[in-house]
């Protein structure tokens, strides 16, 4: 009789198999909430003045380095890199949500 070569076949009960998971079903409303949460937690933004249409530079008074930090916070939240040419066009929360919808295939 052949000796078992690894512990799993020796145990005989645990067969290795793969589990594939689908991501969370995202809606535009959920993206709005997540982006606004990230922005409210950002300490250089006044949460009272924050709406979906408020511009970062004009209404919320953020300079370019704050903008960079903000985009990095959004990247950390959603887990993918946003390149520079796209990041400099994102000037309000509405722009960010629209960009994320395009990247994550959210259509409503």
């Amino acid at each position: 009789t052949a000796a078992p070569t690894n512990i799993l076949s020796a145990l005989g009960t645990i067969a290795p198999h793969r589990c594939y998971g689908h991501g969370v079903e995202m809606t535009r409303h959920m993206l709005n909430e997540r982006v606004l949460l990230v922005l409210r937690l950002f300490d250089k933004i006044n949460p009272d003045k924050l709406t979906l249409e408020s511009q970062f530079a004009k209404d919320l008074g953020l300079d370019s380095l704050d903008h960079v930090e903000l985009i990095m916070a959004v990247e950390d939240e959603f887990g993918f890199e946003i390149p520079d040419q796209d990041a400099e066009r994102l000037r309000s929360p509405e722009d960010i949500v629209q960009y994320l919808c395009d990247k994550l295939d959210v259509f409503d």
Partner: protein, 128 residues
């Protein structure tokens, strides 16, 4: 004849300065923002690896301060050189070629600030 040829050559060289890295100010701006991003992402690892008595907000404020120091610079070649020096500092810090003391040097905790008002300068012994 030779002097006139040399004169026109010198005049042409003075009109346009050869770029260091970036050709336009947009290019230079992108380099600066990428350097800021790289430093910002490295900060938590710096604190952990050098075991330095700093918090993340302190480090972020110091990073912002060091970038704000050169906010008024508009010459593209100077910006390129500053970015190159910042990049070199980042590489040395990230690879742990520095020591804890070099990281703490950024915070200048042992430097006494030079006096700016008259009495301060007088007590220091400096002539006005």
């Amino acid at each position: 004849l030779m002097s006139s040829a040399g004169g026109t050559l010198i005049r042409q060289a003075v009109k346009e300065a050869k770029p260091v890295f970036s050709a336009t100010s947009e290019d230079a701006r992108r380099r600066v923002l990428n350097l800021y991003r790289a430093w910002f992402r490295q900060l938590p690892y710096i604190i952990r690896e050098y075991d330095v008595p700093l918090t993340l907000p302190m480090c972020r404020r110091k990073l912002r301060e060091n970038f704000e120091k050169y906010r008024q610079v508009n010459d593209i070649r100077v910006i390129d050189l500053l970015v190159a020096k910042g990049q070199m500092e980042l590489v040395e810090t990230a690879h742990m070629w520095k020591q804890k003391t070099h990281v703490m040097d950024y915070f200048k905790q042992t430097v006494t600030p030079k006096p700016t008002d008259f009495l301060g300068k007088f007590f220091d012994g400096k002539e006005p």
